[in-house]
Symmetry: C2
Subunit: 215 residues, 2 copies
């Protein structure tokens, strides 16, 4: 279980003096109740704390695994990924930008024979290249792309939650979804089979929430 | 409650012939069980269907509002937003791009006096402007920014779920978080107090999921 520093302090306080109200926790931390609200909501939602109306918060000693959480962790990247949009590494930066607009995506995978992953280019990479004196029409995209082994990847089997964590941790918008294979020289290669983005996560979040709404 | 077309068909099938297994539903739809997995998981998670091991899926006639879902809908933009990064409309496109890199953000709010919202520029807008013959150092950002009334906004009070839906619906990465006020001419204006992005949604998704993991 991963807490932020503040969440860890809240849990400690509730452990040591439950039941305790939100106001009392806030006072101990020198914060307002409003500031604590999201942390208390998330800790309760996750089943770490229990909130009893007009009594206060309790620490849940024997936490049951929430079936909701279990199901959330069963979701796999392969079921929510988008199609990859790929280019070759010898095309110009200018043509890469044009491809991004015609395909309406925020990143491109750069591939060799057999859709083998060679690089990634993001909107950010392309935008940065326009700041210098680079001739966008002449310089190939291979000059500015992120290369192996610096590409953060995911697989169809990976839990959506893990892939989402990679996106936030590495501050990137897209993970290529790959399948590993061994080439004729015995080296590990990756075939690109999709892309997984913050947009996929946001859509999933909305879908889960919307379906829950009682109409 | 919002279903995708396929989810609506699944719900119809389960309504008419429950209990029914995943394989049987798949057969009726001419799809594989694997293809249906994410839909069945989400429908179960949302409390629309009930899955009983070795029996099959049931339609939940009397749906209880899930406390988990209730809490999810209580989360407000104001508790999860980021700080806004703002510029003036007379600065050059080039300087806007530089600001985006020095501040490490994917969008900028363009403001007038008193942080009044005048426009938005995204990485996509800036990248598009580099494709033409525009002199990036000379042309002000006001020429390419999205203007009122075309800016999609959110407020601190809005549920995170609604704001996330706006992001997916309008295919944008950032919503300015605003507070409306009436200026001295009696016109409605918006003060920028934050930004809410797909990154905020992804972080929240990860946080909810991570806290649920039993250690």
């Amino acid at each position: 279980m991963e807490f932020t520093e503040r969440q860890a302090r809240i849990v400690e306080i509730v452990k040591n003096s439950s039941p305790i109200t939100g106001e009392q926790i806030a006072a101990k931390l020198d914060l307002t109740r409003a500031t604590l609200r999201p942390d208390l909501t998330i800790l309760t939602m996750a089943g770490v704390l229990e909130a009893r109306p007009r009594v206060g918060y309790f620490y849940k000693e024997k936490k049951k695994t929430s079936p909701y959480m279990d199901r959330l962790r069963q979701l796999r990247v392969g079921d929510f990924k988008s199609l990859p949009i790929s280019i070759r590494e010898n095309i110009s930066i200018y043509d890469a930008i044009v491809t991004m607009f015609t395909q309406n995506v925020g990143s491109l995978t750069v591939v060799g024979e057999g859709q083998t992953l060679r690089g990634m280019v993001s909107r950010k990479d392309l935008l940065k290249s326009t700041l210098g004196k680079t001739d966008l029409q002449q310089v190939p995209v291979s000059i500015i792309m992120t290369r192996m082994p610096n590409i953060i990847m995911t697989t169809a089997d990976e839990p959506v939650l893990e892939a989402a964590r990679k996106l936030t941790l590495h501050q990137i918008d897209t993970l290529p979804v790959v399948e590993a294979f061994i080439d004729e020289k015995g080296e590990e290669r990756y075939e690109v089979i999709g892309r997984f983005t913050k947009t996929n996560v946001t859509k999933l979040f909305v879908q889960i929430g919307s379906l829950g709404a009682q109409s």
